[in-house]
Symmetry: C2
Subunit: 356 residues, 2 copies
C-alpha cells in the first residue's frame, strides 16, 4: 500500500513503478521520474535518499537527463533502487509522506508533465518475432500455401539440403573489399541533405574490410531474425583520406571507378526520408568488384561460391578464409601528373573462433 | 614541396595529409595525427598553431582522442585546417622546420606508431553499390540469365507493374504495434551473453510504434540500397517498465503471449557472434499480431494489404494511415489477483510530408 492515492485499475501501482524522463512547465530540464498512480516521483528531488551500497556513491546517475548511466549500473543497482522507491512510497514510511516541502517538490501530476525519450538510444535492432505476423506478411507477398519460410523457426543455422539445421561456427568466412566514408557535419532530424550541399557532410574516406560470415541459402533467404552474416562486431578500417574525392585510377584492380552508385548519391538517399546523420557515422560502399575475375572484391566471387579454388602460390589454395589467415587491403588514387594519394593498408588476421 | 623527406611513390604526399588516431610506446594516449611521407604529424603538439578564424577558438578539437568533434565543425574548418597543415609542412615555412624541439615533439615515424579507430562510430550503414558485385551475387544465388534484379538501378521508387518507377511521398503509411526492451548492462565486444545471464542485460520494456512506410513489391524484393521502409528517424515509445517480465494476459488483443521468440532469445541471438550491446540500445520485438483478424498489429494486416478497408465507426474507414491521423497504442499486463502493470500510452500523430 502506498500513502499516495492510486485509482483502481491504474496501470501504475506500487508494484510497477516504471521509469521515464519528464519535464514540467516550471522546470523545463528533462529529468528522471517514476510513475505512481496519477503522479510522477521526481528522482532529482529524492536522489539523496538512495543510500544503499550500490547507489550511495552513484546518486548522480539519478539526476541525469537520460537513463543511460543508471541502465549501465546493472541489476544489483536496479533492484536496490526499486526497493528504495517502494519503501519511500509505502504507507508507514514517513520520510516522504510527512515532509510537506519534499512532497511538494518531488511529486508531479502526470497530466502536468511532458514526457521525453527515456534514453539516448545507441544501436537499434528490430526483430520479426511474431509467428502470426510473419505468416500474414509472407502469405500476402509470397505464397498462401507455404506462408512461413522453413528457416523462420531456426536461430542461426548451417545445413545443406540433406541435413537438419545445426548451430555451429562459421565455415565460410569471407572478406569484402570496400571503401567507406565518415559523416562530418550533421543534418537535423527530418531535414534531408540535398545533392547541392552533400559535400559539406562527407568528411573523408577509408578502406574497409567488411568481414562477412557467409550463410547457407537456407538462412540467407528471407532471414527473419536479423541474420548474423555481418555481425562481426567490428570492421577493419584505415586511415582517413580528407578532401575532394579524386577517383580516376587507371588499374584493373577492384576499382571504385566501376561503382554504380556514388558516395553523394548514397548520403542523399540515406537522408531522403529525414534520417539524421552524426559526425562519426560510417557509410560503406558495399563490396567493390571489377569487371574481370581477378578483380572481384570477395572470396565468394573469387572462388565463385567455393567452386573455383583461388591459387595463392606455393601450391596454396583458398575457397574461403581460414583461421590464422591475414587479409591486407591496400588502396590509392592516381592520375597522370598528380601525386599518388594513398590510403595506407587495412589489415586483419583471423583468430580461431571461441569455443561455444 | 615539403621540408620533410617524402619517398617517391609514397601515398602520403603534401597533397594528401590524411587524418588518423595513433599512439606511441612512450605516449600511450591516442591522439590525432596526419600522415606525411613516412611520418605522422602529432596535432596535439601543434594545435596552438591553428589560428585561423574557424579554429582559433576550437583548437581543443585537435587534441581529442577521436576525430568526431573536428568532423562536426564542418567543411570551412576542415579546409582551414588543411591549409594550415600544408603551410606548416611546406618548404620555406620556418615555424616547424626551424624549431628543433617542436619538430622532435611533433613528428613521429609511422613505423613506431600504433593506429586506432579514427572516430567513435555511431551509426553504420553498408550499401550495395557495385553493379558487378551485385550481378555476381545474384547470379550465384538466383538466376544466371536475370542476374541483376530490375529494381537495382532505382533509388526509392513507387510503381505498379504497368508504370515506370517514380520518386514520391509514401502512399502506404502504416503503424506497427510492438514492444521493445532497453539494454542495461553492456557486454564486452566478442563476449556473447549466455542464456543464464541474459536477465542482467535487460533493463526494461516499452511500448513501441514502429512507423512504417510500406513500399511496393518492386522496391521491397531484394532491396539493394538500404530501403526506406523503416527510416522514419524515430519510433514512438512510452514508458519504461522495469522488473521481471510478467506477461500472462488474458485478452484476445495483439498479445505478447503469442510471440514465438522471447526477449531473452533475441538478446542472446544478437550477441552470439560477439556483438556488444551498450546501455540504451533498443531491441524491438517486430510487429505483434494475435490469431484473430481484429488482433493484427498493423494496417497492412488489418486491411490485408489494402484489400479490406477497416471500419472506424461513423462511416470512417482506413486502408492505411492518412495525414493528421493519430495512432494511440495502450498496453498492460494482468493476471488474476495481481495488480495491473501498465505501460501508459504510446501516441503519435502524422503530419503531412514536407514538400520534396
Amino acid at each position: 500500500m502506498s500513502f499516495i492515492s492510486i485509482p483502481e485499475n491504474s496501470g501504475f501501482p506500487l508494484e510497477n513503478l516504471p521509469y521515464g524522463i519528464f519535464s514540467t512547465a516550471d522546470k523545463c530540464q528533462p529529468r528522471i521520474g517514476v510513475a505512481i498512480g496519477e503522479h510522477i516521483l521526481d528522482l532529482n528531488a529524492v536522489a539523496h535518499l538512495f543510500n544503499g551500497p550500490e547507489l550511495k556513491n552513484s546518486q548522480h546517475v539519478l539526476k541525469e537527463s537520460t537513463l543511460n548511466s543508471f541502465m549501465g549500473l546493472g541489476p544489483k543497482a536496479w533492484t536496490e533502487a526499486r526497493k528504495t522507491l517502494q519503501d519511500l512510497l509505502s504507507t508507514g514510511n514517513k520520510t516522504l509522506e510527512d515532509d510537506i516541502d519534499l512532497r511538494k517538490n518531488a511529486l508531479v501530476l502526470q497530466a502536468e508533465a511532458t514526457m521525453h525519450l527515456p534514453a539516448k538510444i545507441g544501436d537499434y535492432t528490430d526483430f520479426y518475432s511474431s509467428i502470426i505476423h510473419a505468416s500474414n506478411v509472407e502469405e500476402m507477398f509470397r505464397d498462401k500455401d507455404n506462408a512461413l519460410m522453413p528457416n523462420w523457426k531456426y536461430l542461426p543455422t548451417r545445413r545443406n539440403d540433406a541435413e537438419p539445421p545445426i548451430f555451429d561456427k562459421c565455415k565460410l568466412l569471407d572478406f569484402e573489399l570496400e571503401t567507406a566514408f565518415f559523416v562530418g557535419k550533421s543534418n537535423p532530424l527530418g531535414t534531408p541533405v540535398s545533392v547541392e550541399e552533400v559535400d559539406q557532410h562527407i568528411f573523408g574516406m577509408v578502406l574497409m574490410n567488411d568481414w562477412s560470415g557467409r550463410v547457407p541459402k537456407f538462412e540467407k533467404d528471407w532471414s527473419l531474425l536479423p541474420n548474423r552474416q555481418y555481425h562481426f562486431g567490428i570492421m577493419s578500417i584505415r586511415p582517413i583520406q580528407f578532401g575532394k574525392s579524386i577517383f580516376l585510377p587507371n588499374r584493373p584492380a577492384p576499382n571504385f571507378n566501376y561503382m554504380y552508385w556514388t558516395m553523394k548519391q548514397q548520403l542523399v538517399h540515406h537522408t531522403i526520408t529525414g534520417c539524421n546523420l552524426q559526425p562519426g557515422d560510417l557509410l560503406g560502399s558495399g563490396t567493390i568488384s571489377g569487371p574481370t575475375t581477378d578483380a572481384f572484391g570477395s572470396m565468394l566471387e573469387l572462388s565463385w561460391r567455393g567452386t573455383r579454388p583461388v591459387e595463392l602460390g606455393d601450391g596454396i589454395t583458398r575457397k574461403f578464409i581460414l583461421d590464422e589467415d591475414e587479409v591486407i587491403i591496400r588502396g590509392h588514387c592516381e592520375r597522370d601528373g598528380l601525386h599518388r594519394i594513398g590510403f595506407g593498408k587495412c589489415t586483419g588476421k583471423v583468430l580461431p573462433a571461441i569455443t561455444l
